[in-house]
């Protein structure tokens, strides 16, 4: 698969996420896909590491349970060989208390296997604002 193919797959995943089409998301993922833990893991329910399609389905359930997404847009895509890095902007509200959380930019990296399926997802952001909102 080319770098452009991988960028298109990542764009398709975001589009599927935004319309809550989990089947379209999961079909792009390898069966043994790994989503790395995110900052705030241990306190934020959806930040823990996930493995395999069932793990991702559980992640999506937890996001829907806890988060009202207000803005989720992709500002830039970078691709090299088998990886795509995405610069995201995200704003959401926590359903448990209505607190708003904003990430003006954060980085997400998708790694592809030889078949063109996502085998690893990595993201890094500063969780300080999220943790403060979650604790209120």
């Amino acid at each position: 698969m080319s770098a452009q193919d991988n960028i298109q797959t990542v764009k398709d995943i975001y589009a599927a996420f935004n319309r809550n089409d989990r089947n379209a998301m999961i079909v792009a993922l390898a069966e043994n896909v790994e989503f790395e833990s995110s900052p705030g893991a241990g306190e934020i329910p959806w930040a823990m590491a996930r493995h395999g399609h069932s793990g991702i389905a559980n992640l999506l359930d937890q996001i829907v349970e806890h988060v009202q997404m207000d803005v989720f847009e992709q500002l830039d895509f970078l691709a090299s060989e088998n990886q795509v890095a995405v610069v995201n902007r995200m704003e959401y509200s926590l359903k448990k208390n209505g607190q708003k959380v904003s990430f003006p930019k954060y980085i997400q990296v998708w790694t592809f296997d030889a078949a063109g399926k996502v085998e690893r997802e990595f993201n890094s952001y500063d969780p300080t604002e999220l943790l403060a909102a979650w604790r209120r």
């Binding site: 895509f77 090299s80 990886q83 890095a85 980085i107 890094s124 500063d126 969780p127 300080t128």
Partner: protein, 131 residues
């Protein structure tokens, strides 16, 4: 410069940092580089720096307060004049004796063979708790 050459510039900076060669790190930067880390209230070297001299001050102040225990670069991705490096690092805070760690990503801009901008994304909550 090609994307591959831009990636090499950034890889060279990481190699210099790994070797403790801060002069080598600074040599990869443009004179008016923008160096943007999360601003953390109780950590003096964080926040935005402008210019190579200011970044040199960042490294000397950081060295007074913390030292790397590990710095694992897991990937480098280049497109146009942008390069993303990402991985995991662990720091020992000299002033408190505590250790903090987390995933990081670095969003670099490379122009004319020199780094003109860095934006770091990392876990400032973990850092704050260790200081």
């Amino acid at each position: 410069m090609s994307e591959q050459e831009n990636a090499q510039v950034v890889q060279g900076l990481y190699d210099s940092f790994d070797a403790g060669d801060i002069a080598g790190v600074l040599g990869a930067l443009s004179d008016d580089v923008e160096w943007v880390l999360p601003s953390i209230p109780n950590i003096p070297f964080t926040g935005a720096k402008h210019g190579k001299d200011s970044v040199a001050g960042f490294f000397s102040t950081m060295a007074e307060h913390q030292e790397p225990q590990s710095f694992e670069l897991q990937g480098l991705i280049a497109q146009g004049d942008r390069v993303v490096g990402y991985g995991h690092y662990r720091w020992h805070v000299k002033t408190t004796g505590r250790v903090w760690e987390g995933d990081f990503s670095h969003h670099w801009t490379v122009e004319g063979g020199k780094i003109t901008r860095l934006q770091e994304y990392s876990d400032s909550a973990a850092a704050m708790a260790a200081f």
